[in-house]
Symmetry: C2
Subunit: 242 residues, 2 copies
């Protein structure tokens, strides 16, 4: 009996996900975009020391943030950039993607324009929604984080990081777009390199920031659909055009 | 001597304003937009009771928020909608604009697309930057407010209100755009009617919200340039298009 109840629950969950997927698709599918349902993950550990070291190294736009660590011998190695865990892994920048996929089970999506559908927005902070996005010959890490910068007042922060160096990141522009209830919010910026810690980007507030009330206005049945587009940054060279 | 010192100060101020105007124009002038320098004003009084009454009345989409006040006899009268002062004035909706211009010295600008250049963003909260905008046969009130929703953490809130009824407001879409340092933030929404109190719109967070750090990224030498465009809301009927 318990087995059948669980099966029924699982079927209901599937129907619910399918329904959310359909609703997001209805809003965003005009351009034939891929909708990806992303479930939340609680941040297990926050490692400020690693981030500080990583950030210091990127000022010189060189690879090895890890040479600040005593244990690292090869200056070509970078630490694991997964914002969820304080992971002891270190490796070359070229294998960060496969580490994130295999060890941290972060999905990767293809396509210049996708829809990131974050579920269960009501979950308490700190919570992260993470996905990798492959396009224009590079891989990007999209992080949506619910965090209490001011105690008792959670906010949502969304940013895109290039899995590459800061100088490579300067060649791209990413756009995050929310569109619901006759409201539209767009954020466009140059992605940061994952060598600059995602925690620093969020604490600097240099990303899309949503108060809870605004997040609720844009979310539908507890899920937030974010349209994502990446382009090469030629269009950004002139700030004059509106 | 004092006179000459003051004159010199005034000339310096004029040069500074001219310089800010020029810089904003350089960023936004591709479309030949009008740049308007808006100085801040400290909110002198906050009148929550009037706002609550006004908001209650607009749920029925009728004009007279004031019929909740004991002193009002004519149901066609509306209270002064200036968010800066608790003004005892009451009059018909059609003369609100002339009251705001004459009594509260709020400037009015013509044109479908203008640039609102708010100066002295560093001033402590609460501070308002206010202007009226005339286009498409209607007048709109643009309010940028610096307010501490969470003590010690000022934020900026920007919204556009139609000087008209809620049903008239539904015919329009307004867009606020910030564009600087390879970052762009756009907010599009249906304007609210001034019969719905601006304080409620801001406390609901249903507007463009900027943390101080983001406002600093977009501001230049203490001034924030906001591109404003108003269109009829046909384009909003389909949320499908990205």
């Amino acid at each position: 009996m318990l087995f059948f109840t669980q099966c029924f629950g699982a079927v209901l969950d599937l129907i619910h996900l399918r329904f959310q997927h359909y609703k997001a698709k209805r809003v965003f599918s005009a351009a034939g975009q891929l909708v990806c349902v992303v479930n939340p993950t609680h941040s297990l550990k926050y490692a400020p020391t690693r981030c500080a070291a990583a950030q210091a190294s990127t000022e010189q736009d060189i690879l090895p943030p890890c040479h600040h660590h005593e244990a690292v011998h090869d200056p070509q190695l970078v630490p694991c950039t997964c914002p969820l865990f304080s992971c002891p892994w270190e490796g070359h920048l070229e294998v960060v993607v496969s580490h994130l996929r295999q060890t941290h089970r972060i999905n990767i999506l293809q396509g210049a324009e996708i829809v990131f559908l974050a579920t269960d927005m009501h979950l308490p902070a700190p919570t992260d929604w993470i996905i990798m996005h492959s396009c224009l010959g590079h891989q990007f890490l999209l992080v949506l984080r619910k965090q209490e910068k001011y105690e008792g007042h959670p906010q949502f922060f969304a940013t895109m990081m290039l899995i590459g160096t800061p100088s490579q990141a300067n060649n791209f522009t990413y756009r995050l777009e929310l569109n619901r209830n006759q409201r539209r919010l767009k954020w466009e910026a140059t992605p940061r390199s994952i060598l600059e810690c995602v925690d620093s980007v969020i604490s600097d507030g240099d990303c899309l920031v949503l108060n809870t009330s605004l997040a609720q206005l844009f979310s539908d049945n507890g899920s937030l659909a974010i349209g994502i587009a990446i382009t090469t940054s030629k269009a950004h060279s002139s700030e004059a055009e509106m």
